[in-house]
Symmetry: C2
Subunit: 361 residues, 2 copies
């Protein structure tokens, strides 16, 4: 490479990694050939993906998996994960990709049946990083009791991706009688939040920004299907809406629900759990925890007569011990979310307008 | 930016696009905020995705779609698309992403029921390019008779993606009695190929390399589920294996089948249809058409007694007019593919070892 760059010509070139970040030659890395559909692709599938995800549907190594399903209602959900960095306190892109899709199914009231995974890898990614992510997916899927039955791997040239992007898609079964839909929220419904907010966003941001706190802040990334089963067992048809407040946080999730159902949602600031160290980090970073992403929390909007039973069920789950009533659906403030602050004033909580934290999931 | 770069410091910076490729300020582009989960994400979903894909499941705007299914066997398949360039003769990444997943379902013997789509967009992508791709997906899905019922959009910072990556996942229904599995190929089965090979790979490569030919070479990108229905109607349980020879081409697809079933596959070079201009382009580019990607072709491995009926069915479909018997499954050459050349010699056709054409799909 030239020493000087007077014409700015280097700007148009593909960026090589700085030398210190280049994979050492003895550190095996993803090559374009791993995405070619030939022997190297097969080797990657056999050594890495099959080794981790082994199950009969995947072992058929066909273009897709074939599953036998009972008739009924099926939930179908997809999410792409581009979180940066790939590894963060409390999780990594692999477990996040499993939890995120398991949770999207759970928010439809569904129990997961099967997942697919599509990988877009950047040339030069250390194979050990890929292996670590794949094993983390395996463990997360095993804990959630859901097999990864089919997948795909593509490789893009260096500088055209960012290590690993994963798209997971899930199939789940919705039990009879369960009708979860943001349009079902109605006045007097209680709003339950399963625990303290903003852990995921702050954990990812703290490692990205090199911030240190006295206590390590950890992502709350976790699968919520068991917690949701408890909610449905306790609340039955009285469970109107479920939502996991991921990017955009609790504020955006509640705004979406208010817009969908056409009623208002009133929440009480003092009732919303936020860990002390997370609140401190938000203050330092100038972030409102209401807008920060969660990856293991659930909002449940439940008929008043079922609300106590549902809250008790959530609190009996290890992931919901700190659950709380945070508000209710109201006739007024149609389509809006209104927060009663600690000092007693009311303010409209808008949907986040842009990007508070890029690439948080 | 500094005029000189004596320490090579610029190498580690994110590459800005060269000025000529920067979107003009009056040309609206994807921003990081479009991926933030807030108002701009909602606007993108409403104006672009919902406008194109409108259907009741998608309009619920929930974390996933809920579908009512009859019981039975379901095919489930996912593919990520990273083709470069986004637009090429005969198609674009949008139609390709629909056809690719419809075809993977078809290769399981399934009729498509629903698709999901996960988008990973690069900051700076012109919104008009995204709109063009989304409309192309809409048209391809409508032609294939399959709704896009759920999706997700993420945005990565400039220089960490490449315009648009799309991951489509499909659900399909496998009719009773149909058992398509590469392990079912057996000696004396006929190998049928639905038409001339290598069109897709050569079309993409020609535009990427700026090659011009007398006739425009076009991708064969097309949905194969109707052709497969014809195959299954004609061949029933005698249809043992279906495979669309995408990246890695016919050679790699047949090698995978030979490895899975444990028998040999013998093919005749003279029987394999290749368009004259594609053959010429392959010669110029030093490519073997057997290894070049197809996106609208199907290999069918069929019991001998059903072979004539299946070939007739394929030829009666507009996408299969040039179908041919190209070989058979044999006891010898176990796990290998052997080609009888035009001049009479035999050679083993290996699985492609690396990457012949990066980012072809």
């Amino acid at each position: 490479m030239k020493e000087g760059d007077p014409g700015g010509m280097l700007a148009g070139l593909q960026c090589p990694l700085p030398a210190g970040e280049r994979p050492a030659s003895e550190r095996p890395a993803v090559l374009l050939a791993h995405g070619g559909g030939g022997r190297m692709t097969q080797a990657l599938i056999q050594d890495l993906f099959l080794e981790a995800f082994r199950n009969p549907a995947l072992e058929a190594l066909h273009d897709g998996a074939t599953l036998s399903l009972e008739g009924g209602r099926i939930a179908f959900s997809t999410d792409s994960f581009v979180v940066r960095p790939l590894f963060f306190p409390g999780g990594d892109i692999g477990s996040l990709a499993v939890h995120g899709t398991v949770n999207d199914l759970a928010m439809c009231g569904a129990r997961p049946i099967a997942l697919s995974a599509g990988f877009i890898l950047e040339e030069g990614l250390p194979l050990e990083d890929l292996r670590r992510v794949v094993r983390s997916m395996r463990d997360a899927a095993a804990r959630a009791g859901v097999p990864i039955v089919t997948g795909d791997t593509k490789v893009v040239d260096r500088g055209k991706g960012d290590g690993i992007f994963i798209t997971t898609t899930g199939l789940g079964r919705v039990p009879p009688g369960i009708e979860i839909d943001p349009r079902r929220a109605r006045p007097s419904d209680a709003v339950i939040l399963s625990g303290p907010i903003a852990d995921h966003g702050i954990a990812v941001l703290s490692v990205r920004e090199g911030l240190r706190f006295e206590t390590e802040l950890k992502s709350d990334s976790a699968p919520l299907h068991t917690l949701v089963e408890g909610i449905l067992a306790a609340g039955g048809e009285g469970v109107h809406v479920l939502r996991d407040p991921t990017r955009g946080g609790v504020a955006s999730a509640l705004n979406e629900i208010a817009a969908a159902c056409g009623y208002g949602i009133r929440i009480r600031e003092a009732a919303i759990p936020v860990r002390e160290e997370v609140r401190g980090a938000c203050e330092i970073l100038g972030l409102d925890p209401l807008y920060v992403a969660n990856e293991g929390k659930c909002l449940a909007i439940v008929a008043r007569e079922k609300a106590e039973a549902v809250l008790a069920a959530v609190r009996s789950d290890p992931l919901g011990r700190e659950a709380a009533f945070i508000g209710e659906v109201v006739e007024e403030h149609r389509g809006k979310v209104v927060l009663r602050s600690r000092i007693g004033g009311n303010r409209v909580v808008e949907m986040i307008s842009g990007e508070q934290l890029p690439r948080i999931c």
